[in-house]
Symmetry: C2
Subunit: 214 residues, 2 copies
DNA sequence: CCATTAATGTACCATTCAGTTAAAATCAAT
DNA sequence: ATTGATTTTAACTGAATGGTACATTAATGG
């Protein structure tokens, strides 16, 4: 018996390995935060090894930064699929709110990553040049709605697109991010199916009334 | 020279020591989160030693739980000072929104602790029997407003106190919790003094319009 | 087919950190 | 005075964890 220390055979596939690591890291970071995440645990979630994490990503913090970037990129590109240009302004606004509300609920891990990044005071986002490029698209849609609404007189001019986006985001984000503390402190019925339908409609109405010209 | 290993004189004051530890821990946990916080660093922030932390609080997680409880207790008691019963319902509602918006801004560490606890999915809040007792008071005020408003016909009956509280909280909380990511992604002008005044007014209007009977 | 570089596997190291131990000193109450 | 609770000091432990060293295999170009 020649003792060949059995070593796995493998194909070279850098992109797949990196994508696999990013996906595993995204889950681990979303679950436990930057400091709570364990590199060994990320490695265990991959088809490869810890060695490769450091080979491709340098260190834990760089990996985290790239996970963040990837998450933003993915979410913004999904949002881009929404076409609102064919609807009257206030209808478009309602559709945007509904979409955002639903989309946030469906992307809890993205919400969690953003929460975590805010606990870190946005330090890593600030270091990422990509973010500044990818995010404005979220504003542009609402700017278009406001511009059309002011032209046809349906939307008031003393409320800015940024403010409307802030209000939509606040409700949609908080609904996911704080449902644990809110549910424990108050009423879990808000987070049942019916409760969520009501909050969704409440958010729509609140945003539309804030935008509508009287 | 007799070498007396100099040792501090001290008063026995268990409560002060515990309060000092809790305050130090609150800062460290708010700054770095549960996993990011360092017990040695908490000790360094106190007038006493790491030994005493374990003497009184057992372990890091128990300390964290008590920090959370203390933070909720403090915030709710500050809120309790607000008296709205003498105002007409919609005026009371406006005052409540303004107060909440301002209060959240003024208590960033509380916001941070709640964010952190939500990253942990509310696990520690759920274990704390105190929370269930201290929080309903926040709802009662708004229930009173709604009851009076339905009696005098100023507030609609198809929107619940919980929903209104959710909307007020969402805007006020998000405004503090997400200002880093939001500011980086979009526009920092929302977080200047003028910007905050506008968001505060936007929130008031949105909530009041959501509540007002047409 | 050989040399070289990129990619991967395995084992290990160094440090950090929550929690402990031990002993003594001091306080407060009886 | 005795006693138990509180506080100080300071070193220590053991596990967890971020990061590396070094060997090995795959692909590539000549």
């Amino acid at each position: 018996m020649t003792e060949t220390p059995t070593r796995k055979k493998w194909k070279q596939d850098p992109e797949a390995v990196q994508a696999n690591i990013l996906a595993a890291a995204a889950e681990e970071f979303a679950e436990h935060g930057l400091t709570g995440a364990r590199v060994d645990e990320i490695a265990a979630r991959t088809r490869t090894s810890k060695r490769m994490i450091y080979y491709y990503f340098g260190d834990k913090e760089s990996l985290y930064r790239q996970v963040l970037e990837e998450a933003y990129r993915k979410v913004r590109s999904e949002e881009a699929a929404l076409d609102l240009t064919s609807l009257p302004p206030l209808d478009a606004l309602r559709k945007l709110v509904e979409f955002t509300f639903d989309h946030h609920r469906a992307n809890e891990n993205f919400i969690r990553l953003v929460m975590i990044e805010n606990v870190h005071k946005g330090k890593h986002l600030a270091e990422s040049p990509l973010i500044a490029r990818v995010n404005p698209s979220a504003i542009e849609r609402i700017e278009d709605i406001c511009a059309r609404g002011q032209k046809d007189g349906s939307i008031r001019s003393d409320v800015s697109p940024h403010e409307l986006h802030w209000l939509i985001s606040a409700a949609s984000f908080f609904n996911v991010s704080n449902r644990f503390s809110f549910g424990i402190s108050f009423n879990k019925t808000l987070f049942t199916h019916d409760g969520q339908q009501k909050l969704r409609e409440l958010t729509c109405k609140a945003v539309i009334e804030a935008a509508r010209k009287p």
